[in-house]
Amino acid sequence: MVPERRDLWWLEPLVIVVVLGTFVLYSVYAGLANANYFYEPYLSPLYSPCITANCVHPHLPIVGSYWNLSPAILIVAFPLAFRVTCYYYRRSYYRAFFWAPPACAIPDARKSYAGETRFPFLIQNLHRYALIFATLLLAFLWWDTFLAFNFNGRFGIGLGSLLLLTNVVLLSGYSASCHSLRYLVGGYLDSFHRASLRYRLWSWANWLNARHARWAWASLVVVGLTDLYIRLLSMGVLTDLRIVF
């Protein structure tokens, strides 16, 4: 079937493939590198929380020194699961990578289609659990951000501090605007009467949720940029701009 659309319908899936693909490739490289992820006082968000004894900046050294691989490997599953099962990212990668469909009113690439009714796509239904784990990781990222303003016991503001702050704000916004969170805080109710707190929380989540796509993209890009900045600082390519009081 030949599509009649003559507009640039292919542009959106192309941009998604480029941006998402670039992020995935970069984060695989950065996550496996096991080097240049810390530059005093900044810790890359891809390595937080650092849970191995060999980590340059351990948060919770619950994994002994026998673990010689990158500490990022042990934690990457949680933010990855949150993004992979995210309703917004599902829309994006089903379109751009699966071509199911590549754009509206453009034919699917495959002849048969079962959607999310079978394994492994049935796992998408556990997005709320990915949200819970990703939210727990946010606590570590906020702690990292707090430390990023501490320069040897003195308060200061560096470009890295601001990047880490932007990163954690965007990640918090991304989590707070999650469709599953909107459901869990009150969306499951049929009546909000006599549930004023849940109604208020649901209303806030609704407002944020309407901008979920923006939170998703902005947080993705800034995570990558933050790691890149710290990596370049650690490699000596860049010098951190900072004011220490």
């Binding site: 009649e4 659309r5 599902r90 829309r91 509206c104 009113a105 999310e116 049929d190 009546s191 949720n209």
Partner: protein, 260 residues
């Protein structure tokens, strides 16, 4: 303007050249062609105001209401292609058989209200009305059904998938504060909610700007998750079943109204 002419599976685009006036919409041009060149051109229309949902078609491949598509959207001299909606069988020219939708509508259990309050009234609160009000804006143009790739590109899914329009209807009923019917298993098993991969095309084409995916389908998916897939929710249900029985409602059941 190139308009699809034909019956059943046979047909082709036929080009017509007519003058247009300022302010015309695609449906106006189709009517002018009907009046001047093709009196036998079949087209379904009614209100010309974007409220009856009759004149759904695909304009340059995009599902749209012809009465809401202004000619000024197109460049001067640009060829405009008008085709019938692809998801439903063609009857003639721009008219399709949309009875699939009416058959699906029959399978939805109707509104079943709670007993009345002791004063003989039923009450809904504004915050609850606000949420479901959006769903009642639907004009049943079936553009969302047309663009949904689950049935548009996969005819074999039609028996097991109802489509976005009916998820809007089901969401309106499921979130209704006075409704007592539980349709969640039906939504998963019979209406095929799991087939939806939330690519949001239904939302993009909705002329009433209903947030079909975000406000109807995804909340339904979350409710189905709680009912069917969430292990903690399942465990909690098991614990509650073994607990003490809930006290009987203090309100005596009243006679239900003859219809919803």
């Amino acid at each position: 303007m190139k308009i699809w002419r034909g019956e059943g599976s046979a047909g082709e685009h036929v080009e017509y050249v007519v003058p247009i006036d300022a302010g015309m919409v695609v449906l106006d041009v189709v009517h002018r062609i009907q009046a001047t060149h093709a009196p036998d051109l079949a087209v379904r229309w009614n209100c010309k105001a974007g409220k009856c949902g009759s004149c759904s078609a695909e304009v340059n491949g995009a599902p749209k209401l012809m009465c809401m598509t202004r000619m000024s959207e197109f460049a001067t001299g640009e060829a405009i292609t008008v085709s019938p909606v692809r998801t439903f069988p063609l009857i003639k020219d721009l008219v399709t058989d949309v009875s699939f939708n009416y058959e699906k509508a029959k399978t939805i259990p109707p509104f079943k209200p709670k007993p009345k309050d002791p004063d003989g009234k039923r009450r809904m609160y504004q915050e609850d009305v606000d949420r479901v009000q959006e769903f009642h804006k639907c004009i049943e143009c079936f553009l969302c059904q047309d663009v949904c790739h689950v049935i548009r590109d996969h005819e074999e899914n039609k028996p097991s998938f109802s489509g976005p329009r009916f998820f809007v209807r089901l969401a309106a009923l499921e979130m209704h504060p006075l409704d007592t019917n539980d349709r969640l298993d039906l939504i998963r098993a019979k209406h095929g909610l799991g087939f939806c991969n939330i690519t949001k095309c239904c939302t993009e084409v909705c002329p009433e700007d209903i947030h079909i995916t975000d406000n109807a389908i995804i909340p339904l998916k979350e409710r189905v998750v709680t009912a069917q897939y969430d292990p903690i929710a399942w465990a909690l249900r098991r614990i509650r079943r073994t607990g003490p029985a809930l006290p009987a409602p203090s309100v005596p059941p009243s006679k239900e109204p003859p219809s919803a």
